[in-house]
């Protein structure tokens, strides 16, 4: 099986080739006679599905290897080498990236299939699948990259695709602005990433700039440099994974088509930051200060966006804030050195969040692009399959046992407690209650009660099979994925954590089962409270309330967007116009203007001497002669 490693390069390549082929086809036909949607759909799914099977092959090959040799590297070519810096276009599959690979390709394939139904009839059908394939390819590069630079390629690639897909319906300025925002905010994070990479390189990169060599050389880092690197990289993660203060783009990103929200803004791309922190676990574990900062940023983000989520009225925005909130959990997890728990939450979150988004998409599709939850209601009879699957997703998201979200979230909270971060644990439990509240608020408002918009209700219908089948598959995952990492308490043996062991640098603290049970009970109680309140308020149908006081602040997201706009965006535009209106013409130009002014002024002054009378010119000559004589007669005797 030596040659298995050589397939690795194909995994990201297949979707990329698909993207190029579809892109070319679309580009040359979109203004004329287009190819059929079936052809596009088939072509689009070939790449991801093949990649998924290849990933399976690689994954099982990896499983067959002894634990301490579980890494396959495929060096495709030397990307660039300058001085000590040598960057290979190389791909690494180890337990961490193997697991990621598997669910990225799996969920990616599902969403491709789902999108065939969702996007049917769109005039840019081909373009959509080109972007989607491109995205998947980039994501796979991100996951498979053997070093930070290759990861950065995928990192930026997914950022680009995110931009393209958010602004997919580009005739609407709002959508494009959302795309711009996503790209620019991501770029702010990327700046941190690039600087972090650079610092890391100058510190220990000359011994090889891939994860394995870096891991071996981590001990050479001084604490200051190490923490700097960790924090700089974390800025990158903040941008990509929508953490404070760079989370603002993600809710706006819901402007894209719903499958995009599911694929990119829930399941895959946004978790890249978590993946990156886990990838660099050898550093974050080494420099715990940085880890703690990560954890606190994460849990605060979770709290903040949960507050936002409680007051939103757009179904996708609610899910978006829940995504941000769950990402906060993941960061709290990886921050408190519970890397496997964080990654496991990524894994389960991918299922239930994709499920919720696709379910929401199905609702939106049924109601002809109506996204306001206050216009919905009572849909459970009309869309039973969607309702059931979404309910499973909601339970998983809320962390209700025994659904997958319960195990992963609880593991994170428990690890926080076990590692001595009681504050994080407390906030985490609070957020769990809030999560349960807003999730079920959504469910109750959409599916229960009476229809608020009768006309839309009458036209509603269940989505076609191409859309519901992925929902069912995902629902199964959302319900059952938790089993994979069943803690010892329930007789499990933490399959995922054990599997990830070789890739991560973590140690499992030992705490008595008693504490574990208590912690678990606390979060279950919180969830139940959350659901109960939601039922009380919305279970029987409710009308849109007027928000006042704190709720109003929450509804307006604490005016953070407006503040950012006033503090960053407008000043920059202002400076820009000051430069081009004032500084450019008046200040920097002043050198050349001054020079020409002197010449012109001198010219006009000397012009007065040019009276036009020949005798006056003769007089000048004589004056010159006279002065010369005065000067020269000094030198004679």
């Amino acid at each position: 099986m030596e040659h298995t490693a050589n397939y690795i390069g194909l995994i990201p390549l297949l979707p990329l080739v698909g993207a190029v082929v579809i892109g070319l086809m679309h580009m040359f036909t979109c203004t004329g006679k287009a190819f059929s949607e079936k052809l596009y759909g088939a072509l689009a799914c070939v790449g991801p599905v093949l990649s998924f099977f290849l990933a399976l092959v690689v994954f099982f090959h990896l499983r067959d290897l002894p634990v301490d040799q579980r890494h396959l590297t495929h060096n495709v070519f030397t990307w660039f080498a300058v001085g000590d810096l040598k960057v290979d276009m190389a791909f690494l599959v180890d337990p961490l990236s193997g697991l990621y690979l598997l669910f990225v390709t799996f969920i990616g394939s599902l969403i491709h299939i789902y999108s065939i139904g969702y996007m049917a009839g769109d005039e840019n059908f081909g373009k959509f699948f080109c972007y989607l394939n491109l995205f998947l390819g980039s994501m796979l590069i991100l996951v498979l990259g053997s070093g930070p630079v290759v990861m950065f390629v995928g990192w930026e690639g997914v950022g680009l695709c995110s931009y393209l897909l958010i602004s997919f319906f580009a005739t609407d300025t709002e959508n494009v602005l959302a795309g711009n925002k996503a790209f620019i905010v991501n770029r702010i994070g990327d700046l941190g990433f690039v600087l972090g990479m650079s610092v890391l390189f100058w510190a220990i990169g000359s011994g090889g700039f891939d994860y394995l060599s870096l891991k071996a050389n981590t001990h050479l880092l001084t604490p200051g440099v190490g923490i700097a690197v960790c924090l700089l990289l974390f800025i990158g993660a903040c941008g990509k994974s929508a953490q404070i203060p760079l989370y603002v783009w993600l809710p706006d990103a819901m402007a894209g088509p719903t499958p995009v929200s599911a694929l990119i803004h829930a399941a895959t791309m946004v978790t890249a930051g978590v993946y990156m922190v886990a990838r660099f676990s050898f550093m974050y574990a080494h420099f715990t200060t940085a880890g703690t900062i990560v954890a606190w940023v994460g849990i605060l983000t979770a709290l903040l966006s949960a507050i936002y989520g409680m007051f939103q009225s757009d179904i996708k925005k609610i899910l978006a804030y829940s995504t941000v909130s769950q990402l906060g959990y993941m960061f709290a997890g990886v921050g408190v050195a519970a890397y496997s728990a964080g990654i496991f939450h990524v894994f389960t979150h991918a299922f239930f969040k994709a499920l919720l988004f696709l379910g929401a998409g199905s609702v939106i599709y049924a109601l002809h692009h109506q996204q306001d939850v206050w216009q919905m209601g009572g849909l459970k009879n009309k869309m039973p399959r969607t309702y059931m699957t979404m309910l499973i997703g909601a339970l998983a998201l809320a962390g209700f046992p025994p659904f997958s979200g319960f195990f992963s979230k609880d593991e994170i909270l428990f690890m926080a407690l076990a590692n001595g971060h009681t504050g994080i644990w407390l906030i985490g439990v609070l957020v769990a209650a809030m999560t349960a509240y807003y999730t079920f608020r959504l469910i109750f408002l959409v599916f229960h009660g009476t229809p608020r918009n009768q006309e839309a209700y009458d036209h509603a219908h269940e989505a076609p099979a191409v859309m519901t089948v992925p929902l069912i598959v995902l629902a199964a995952g959302a319900a059952l994925a938790g089993v994979l990492n069943l803690p010892a308490l329930f007789g499990g043996n933490m399959v995922v954590s054990t599997w990830l062991e070789p890739s991560l640098t973590e140690h499992h603290p030992h705490m008595s089962h008693g504490v574990e049970i208590l912690a678990m009970l606390a979060s279950v109680v919180a969830v139940v409270i959350g659901i109960t309140i939601a039922y009380k308020k919305f279970g029987q149908g409710a009308e849109e309330p007027e928000f006042t006081g704190f709720a109003k602040l929450g509804y307006h997201k604490f005016y953070v967007d407006e503040i950012y706009n006033a503090v960053f965006v407008q000043p920059f535009k202002g400076i820009g116009s000051v430069i081009s209106r004032f500084l450019e013409p008046n200040v920097t130009d002043s050198f050349v203007k001054f020079a020409t002014w002197i010449y012109r002024k001198a010219g006009t002054s000397f012009k007065a001497l040019q009276v036009g009378y020949v005798r006056v010119y003769a007089l000048y000559m004589v004056i010159g002669l006279s002065l010369m004589s005065l000067f020269l007669s000094q030198s004679i005797n």
């Binding site: 007089l619 004589v622 004056i623 006279s626 004589s629 007669s633 004679i636």
Partner: protein, 169 residues
């Protein structure tokens, strides 16, 4: 010492004539005083044993050129009110003199450095037609030809300028 007396006499006359040229308002008077200068200069040439130039000065300058100028002045029949108004003429002259004093001073200083040869005796042929002619047609042949060409061009030019009035109509 007779020659020195003559030199001073001619010098004073020449300077007076030049002053007259500069100061008289009417060009006719200026022309007449210039004639005085020309003739005094001719005398000075003779003192310098330049026989040919003495003759030429009298014939060409004082004779031909000055008659031409006077002829033209009379031809134009200049009245007093034709003349430009030069109110501050003397102030200008004073200013001009101030400007020129350094020049004069410098040039005189230079002239003082030239070794003054006190009245060497020159051969009787010096400055005669034959000697000048020999030099002219041997060493200076090309410039001579050029000057003749210049005269030709001038002739043509004068005809063209003067002939304009016919063309104009």
């Amino acid at each position: 010492m007779f020659s020195e007396g003559l030199f001073y006499a001619f010098s004073v006359l020449a300077v007076l004539g030049a002053l007259g040229l500069v100061l008289f308002r009417h060009p006719m008077r200026g022309a007449m005083s210039l004639v005085v200068t020309m003739i005094s200069l001719a005398g000075l040439y003779s003192l310098l044993s330049a026989k040919l130039i003495f003759v030429l000065q009298l014939i060409v300058y004082a004779g031909a050129i000055m008659s031409l100028i006077i002829f033209i002045i009379m031809f134009l029949n200049i009245q007093d009110n034709d003349l430009p108004v030069e109110e501050k003429r003397f102030a200008y002259t004073a200013g001009g003199i101030v400007v020129l004093i350094p020049v004069v001073y410098f040039l005189i200083k230079i002239a003082g450095t030239i070794p003054g040869v006190e009245a060497t005796i020159v051969g009787s042929g010096f400055g005669g037609i034959k000697e000048v002619g020999l030099v002219l047609f041997q060493d200076w042949l090309l410039p001579f030809e050029i000057v003749s060409l210049l005269l030709l061009v001038t002739l043509v030019g004068a005809v063209v300028l003067a002939g304009k009035r016919r063309v104009g109509k």
